[in-house]
Amino acid sequence: MKKIFMALLVAALCFYLPAAAQELYVNTEPASNMAAKSIGFRFNNKFMKTTDSRFGWRFNPELMFGLSNKWMWHLSGYFSDLYQHTFRLEGFSTYAKYRFYANDDVHTHFRLAAYGKAALIKNPVASEEINPDGDNTGLGAGLVATRLMHKIALSASAGYDRAMDNAGHFKFPEQNGKDAVGYTLSAGALVFPQVYRNYRQVNMNVFLELLGQSNLETGKHYLDMAPALQFIFASRTRVDLSYRFQMDGDMQRFSDRSFLFRVEYNIFNAYK
């Protein structure tokens, strides 16, 4: 089934001629930043099967600030019913990104950025995967490179993640291996409009992303694929849909597939 899906996807991408490149990736961050002095609100919802076979939901509201044209900063909260039957606060995370190189031309650009992330999470450690987005307390840092070409935007990232003991006396098991490297590869393109008329037109974008992690101590790994669809309304509100599934791996994970539904709203020139 997975192989058929992959073959169809590759075939569709080969025959499909995108209108333009698009780098507003759904499962990763590009090296580009949001506008300075803008504030973004994200409402991330992840749905996945829990270990006791329920349909679990993680709600992750995110505040985003464009501090300057080089710096941006995110603050996140995590709520879910994944580890218990009731919905509760799981923790917080913060993320900062610094764009240190940009070479822009009209239809092409190349940008580089560095990021850092810290998460404080109160959950039992139930997975060998290190996931600071709700499952693990930890630190992370990495580099992102984004290349916009005429019809497609490619982005790659590599980062280091270190897990620590979770809050609430939930120890990180030594045998899991505290250190991991993460890597991503994303491609994105605009489907419509083929010709712009005004800001009210709905934009539709498609993305295909690969997300992987390898534990530096145990050598265990996973590699996920995540096709995604995006709609932009009135050039201000973004709606993202993505299905993420494991293609390869030997890690014991909380869930090897999940569905993402996100709404994002941006206010430009929000402060002086």
């Binding site: 506008a35 009209v106 712009y196 050039s235 020139n269």
Partner: protein, 178 residues
């Protein structure tokens, strides 16, 4: 060269930039264009903006009574996360003679003409800013091979070139062409 610059230095009184066409680069969607337009709209001298979303070009009209800052336009585009790919200003001239490396004080901005033939400017003229940050890096390097003066690299008046009456070293000089 400094000698020539002084000879050709002219002051154009009561002049003002009328409008501009600004093309931004690095944008990938109408959300990026909107962020850029809203940033440009906060400038006190901008009267109105008409976007062309297919080419990411903004047609700007300036207020008559408020001085235009060329650098402020660039800064707004950069703050939105993008770059200026092309800035063409429309300026009104009344019998102004230009040639290569001539300097003109136009509405308080020192304009240094590059890569132009000797001519007399009359009426509305479209002048393109070719300084760093106003054109793609590749084009800037190309112009740099033609215009060897230090002021082109820095955009500032320096001791060896661009001696302009009433202006000191380190004052801004905009390099433009027609």
């Amino acid at each position: 060269m400094g000698f020539l610059s002084i000879i050709f230095f002219m002051h154009v009184a009561h002049a003002q930039f009328v409008k501009a066409s600004l093309q931004a680069s690095g944008l990938t969607c109408s959300m990026c264009s909107k962020a850029t337009q809203e940033a440009l709209a906060t400038l006190p001298f901008v009267q109105s903006i008409v976007p062309d979303l297919n080419t990411n070009t903004f047609a700007l009209t300036f207020k008559k009574e408020v001085p235009v800052s060329i650098d402020a336009l660039r800064k707004k585009v950069e703050d939105a996360g993008f770059s200026v790919a092309k800035l063409v200003l429309t300026a009104d001239f009344n019998h102004v003679k230009i040639t290569n490396d001539v300097h003109i004080n136009y509405a308080g901005n020192i304009l240094h003409f590059v890569n132009v033939r000797e001519q007399i400017l009359n009426g509305d003229q479209h002048i393109t800013v070719i300084d760093k940050g106003f054109i793609p890096e590749k084009q800037f390097k190309k112009y740099g091979a033609v215009e060897k003066m230090d002021c082109y690299k820095t955009g500032k008046i320096t001791g060896t070139c661009c001696k302009v009456e009433g202006k000191v070293n380190s004052d801004r000089v905009y390099h433009v062409t027609i």
